[in-house]
């Protein structure tokens, strides 16, 4: 369980996180989605007790991150953006070390479970320095879950690893979400959609949209776009004609033709073509423009600028 109220971080006069409030429940993967510099890392660093907040409060499993820092830290597993490694240790030694520091006296069982979980058991005696990037990421994950913490915080864990490994890490995160409260950050919308139960879209340290991925998608889905090129009409005439069609909300010049914003998710291709013909012009091109989720994301992020 993570509860965040008005969390704020200033670096000098730069506001990195701006009165952020949210709650993440057990058994939930909460995604922090935002472009670079949105404040994801800073938020996570405050929650894990690395950086003191400038303002606001937060608690981990009921323990205030400032007043009960040690108790809160005991209940967090954290994988920073750049996987922190001890290259000269063995895989097993590394996980054991972190288990001990998180207060587990005889860590053998815990370590076994963590290594099983990230499929590194067969490499337990290898040196960390010899692991590939993807395996290092999994080792980082093992370290974050070895003490079976209530809350697991993962900062862009899929950055810089190959696609196959990305899929594995995403699956691991999903699985973790069944038993723990997971806070997961990413700047890739489709990833947030795959992995998270709920997503907060943040930009410039502020939440600009939130909800279940499917809801967000519906909310965010802009009205359907039609692209039309009309032959034989002057710009003004074509514009007048197009905007008079019922269901068309806006007309914008776009290259040779016009971009129409259409109400709801109606398919107006039929109407548009018959109107154009009736007016005696020719329809040179008509197509329904599909906006990718990525575009939508970029658009709302852009709007909040």
């Amino acid at each position: 369980m993570i509860e965040v109220k008005g969390l704020t971080k200033r670096y000098g006069d730069r506001l990195a996180v701006d009165h952020l409030s949210f709650t993440a429940k057990p058994g939930e993967v909460l995604g922090l989605l935002g472009p670079n510099g949105a404040g994801k890392t800073t938020t996570m660093r405050m929650l894990t007790g690395y950086l003191p907040p400038t303002e606001g409060s937060a608690s981990i499993a009921g323990y205030d991150i400032l007043e009960d820092s040690m108790e809160a830290r005991r209940r967090v597993g954290y994988l920073p953006e750049r996987v922190p490694l001890y290259p000269d240790m063995t895989v097993r030694g590394y996980v054991t070390f972190w288990a001990r520091l998180r207060g587990i006296r005889s860590p053998r069982k815990h370590v076994n479970a963590a290594l099983e979980r990230v499929h590194l058991m067969d490499r337990q005696n290898q040196l960390v320095r010899n692991l590939s990037k993807g395996l290092r990421q999994r080792l980082g994950l093992a370290q974050a879950l070895v003490h079976n913490p209530a809350v697991i915080i993962l900062d862009e864990p899929t950055i810089g690893i190959d696609p196959q490994q990305v899929i594995e890490v995403r699956e691991s995160v999903r699985a973790l979400g069944k038993e723990h409260t997971v806070l997961f950050s990413t700047h890739i919308l489709s990833e947030a959609e795959h992995v998270c139960d709920r997503v907060l879209i943040i930009n410039k340290g502020r939440v600009i949209a939130q909800g279940k991925p499917a809801d967000l998608r519906r909310q965010m889905e802009p009205k359907t776009q039609l692209y039309v090129v009309v032959g034989g009409a002057s710009g003004k005439a074509a514009r007048q004609l197009l905007s008079a069609i019922p269901g068309v909300l806006a007309v914008e010049r776009d290259g040779d033709g016009y971009s129409l914003t259409v109400e709801g998710d109606r398919d107006l291709r039929g109407e548009v073509s018959s109107h154009v013909m009736q007016a005696g012009y020719t329809l040179l091109e008509i197509r329904q423009a599909t906006t990718s989720l990525e575009d939508i994301f970029l658009e709302i992020v852009g709007k909040s600028r």
Binding site: G49, Y50, P52, P84, Y86, L101
Partner: protein, 241 residues
């Protein structure tokens, strides 16, 4: 408990990296060669064997060895990003610094213990003053602790190990030279004062001469405590960067 965990990892690191073994080899080689020379001179009757000979070799060698043993301690944690994990684990900065320092001191203690071989050789061929030797060993052990504390402090100052080693060598060199300066200053009071501030000043004329004085022990202990405290503050300041 946490201190112990950190300490263990540190000691393991010394034993699993070739670098630490190289330092050990260099120390033994250096002390061995000098000891041999000293011994052969003594055999020719030119000098007598100084019971504090090996420890006194260390007193200069540590200017270079202590930084090499400690440069990694905190600098590497910062460079590798593990400092962020340490500081978000339920561990206070004091345990981190103490565990690391004690790891280095422990390794140094082992190195020092290895040189006892030479004392045993000496014992088998002559009747050295064992009390005097023991006193010098205790002195250099404390002296070593203080130089390692200096190295630990500089290791917390930067994430670059080379810079860390370089800075602590300079600092130790100044402390070492300070002693010589203290010896040549004409004004006795000032000279005494300068000497009381240097690491050598509490070794060369007391422990090395077979003189065990509480004030010297207190000096080294005080230096270690103060430097480790400063190091702890530096580590904590990682949170504000």
């Amino acid at each position: 408990m946490n201190t112990l965990t950190i300490f263990r990892r540190e000691v393991e690191q010394y034993f699993t990296t070739p670098f630490a073994w190289l330092i050990a080899a260099a120390v033994l080689l250096l002390t061995g060669l000098l000891f041999n020379q000293n011994l052969s001179q003594a055999a020719r009757g030119a000098t007598i064997v100084d019971p504090a000979f090996i420890p006194s070799v260390f007193s200069f060698a540590l200017v270079f060895f202590a930084p090499l043993l400690t440069m990694r301690l905190l600098a590497e944690e910062r460079r590798e990003g593990t400092m962020e994990l340490l500081l978000t684990s339920p561990v206070d900065e004091g345990s981190i610094v103490l565990g690391k320092f004690l790891g280095a001191w422990f390794y140094f203690t082992l190195l020092l213990a290895l040189t006892l071989v030479y004392q045993i050789i000496l014992l088998s061929i002559s009747q050295p003053d064992i009390g005097h030797s023991l006193c010098a060993y205790i002195g250099i052990w404390l002296y070593g602790g203080a130089t390692l504390a200096v190295g630990t402090l500089f290791s917390a100052l930067t994430e670059n190990q080379i810079v860390s080693a370089f800075l602590s060598m300079i600092a130790l060199m100044l402390l070492w030279l300070g002693d010589s300066v203290g010896q040549v200053i004409a004004n006795l009071e000032v000279a005494r004062f300068v000497r009381t501030l240097t690491l050598q000043g509490h070794y060369s004329t007391s422990f090395a001469a077979g003189l065990f004085r509480g004030e010297d022990v207190a000096f080294y202990a005080g230096i270690i405590v103060v430097l480790l405290f400063l190091t702890m503050r530096l580590v904590a300041s990682n949170r504000w960067r």
